[in-house]
Subunit: 348 residues, 2 copies
Amino acid sequence: MRMRMTLAAATTLAAVALLGWQMGSAGTATLAQEKAAYKAAADPLPSWNDGPSKRAILSFVQDVTTEGGRKFVPPAERIATFDNDGTLWAEQPMYFQLAFMFDRVKALAPQHPEWKDKEPFAAALKGDVKGALAGGEKGLLEMMAATHSGMTTEEFSQTVTDWIATAKHPKTGRLYTEMVYQPMIELLGYLRANGFKTFIVSGGGIEFMRPWTEKVYGIPPEQVVGSSGKLRFEMREGQPALVKLPQVDLIDDKEGKPVGIQTHIGRRPIAAFGNSDGDQQMLEWTASGHGPRFCLIVHHTDAAREWAYDRQSSVGRLDKALDEAASKGWAVLDMKKEWKTVFAFETK
Amino acid sequence: MRMRMTLAAATTLAAVALLGWQMGSAGTATLAQEKAAYKAAADPLPSWNDGPSKRAILSFVQDVTTEGGRKFVPPAERIATFDNDGTLWAEQPMYFQLAFMFDRVKALAPQHPEWKDKEPFAAALKGDVKGALAGGEKGLLEMMAATHSGMTTEEFSQTVTDWIATAKHPKTGRLYTEMVYQPMIELLGYLRANGFKTFIVSGGGIEFMRPWTEKVYGIPPEQVVGSSGKLRFEMREGQPALVKLPQVDLIDDKEGKPVGIQTHIGRRPIAAFGNSDGDQQMLEWTASGHGPRFCLIVHHTDAAREWAYDRQSSVGRLDKALDEAASKGWAVLDMKKEWKTVFAFETK
């Protein structure tokens, strides 16, 4: 009987974790189901091998949830923040939001005949990614402004929703939402089942993530922190609208991450997860609070199942933060050794 | 038996609602208790008279929580936003944050001998509020910068915590946290018990509210939206710190309220509560979404128990929004007629 219950619980857990897709719609009720499933599961992190990272996570969660224990943290203060690109989903061969941007340049080209002769748009339209990015930050900001502003927040959200439902990753041919790390999906659910509130704190665009994070990660829009542009409230055809402006509001990267955390969350996380130098300040900010703290860096070491890169990479460079992890004792996850599964589609 | 249970439930409800003070610390557990108490209570809004506002609230909540009903709204989308000054707590004879600011000017004066001869500080130090505010926005921003920036977010938070624990309202002699409206405390709890997520969206300072909103309203820091200044991440004595800068980041008032809502929450509320023209755009934004919507304006009509003011008031002016409420059919709460109790201390 005991075994049957555990099996049933494990099945429920797998269903909840693998079919995270359905999480968002049911809201509170599903969170309760998620909690029950994780509490009953024999192994709450089945896609993690028994390694130092998994043991450190389990031990930390045990510590902060043990009532009366020396390291107990009240549920309200159990804030965990996650970088997105390279931490929750892949980021190679380029940040997925750039793929979205290039697709938008192509989609909008008919309304901009001048782009044919104007860089970086001309290169982008020929599918020449390197050429389009050769203009550096200035060219990138031009393309971002052209594709990420001028419309209402609701129009932009619909565009993202349509794109994410159909666009495919250039290497795997999978939907981008299938390029999420199965072990991290389990970790998010495990933390929530233990009273944590999980937040995304990403350099990616806040409005680019919000339309799908609830379905994919179980993280609602109000728990997504990201880079943002300014907004203007105005009347459009007699209806109130919020229009996306080309001016930058927050670059939620490096020093911007603790700023984004304070602005949106208003308290310091007790756990933070990242994978690059862009996450260094978030990890420092988290680690330097009082009481028990947990910081982890995802180290991309698996060239076969994913990608292997760190100090020399132009995408997700991990250099200074890797040194600091060693000196400060932050956990460094070896993806190749410590993850049994990387993507859920591997096991199908 | 039935009656005894109802009485017990009502007692629990009263304990939860009146002693909201204890809410924050226990987090999730207390939210569960709160839900149970409200569900079991015979009357979830005991400080409200049976009037049009109470009936409209009960009917709206019934509609959006009836599964299978035409107006059902999934829990994840049950977002309710509340203005603070004049909606959740009083705002006369001046916004309470101004009282804090004047007290800070006095406390910091020894470090600023030059203030004795410099307006608006000189007037503020003499206790001449009118004189100190005579300089208009420029003088006010100078005093705000002097009292609300330069320190770390944690230092500022501690200053607010100390002040709010001791400062007294000039007319009632009560703590400012006792100047909250008992019917609104009940309403917040009632909405949460029905799956709503409650947010503050206030023109007041976000960092001024966060240190006490969880205890007083059951609203955690991450659900507080307010006006904010820019922050800078830096190392102070080898430790990471967030320093409050004198530059304005967001004025969360009028057109700024829908902007603050989108930036922090990322979805449109289905219910919004305000009391002044500063809330008009938040109410418009809320009302113009698809599906069932609820908008309410607190009309200050009770000169005996609170204050009576609207179109001519310099604090919390309610003029255009009152006209729009009439034309759009938003609920307008008549405080004198519809609230049995205004402040909890009345009944003690």
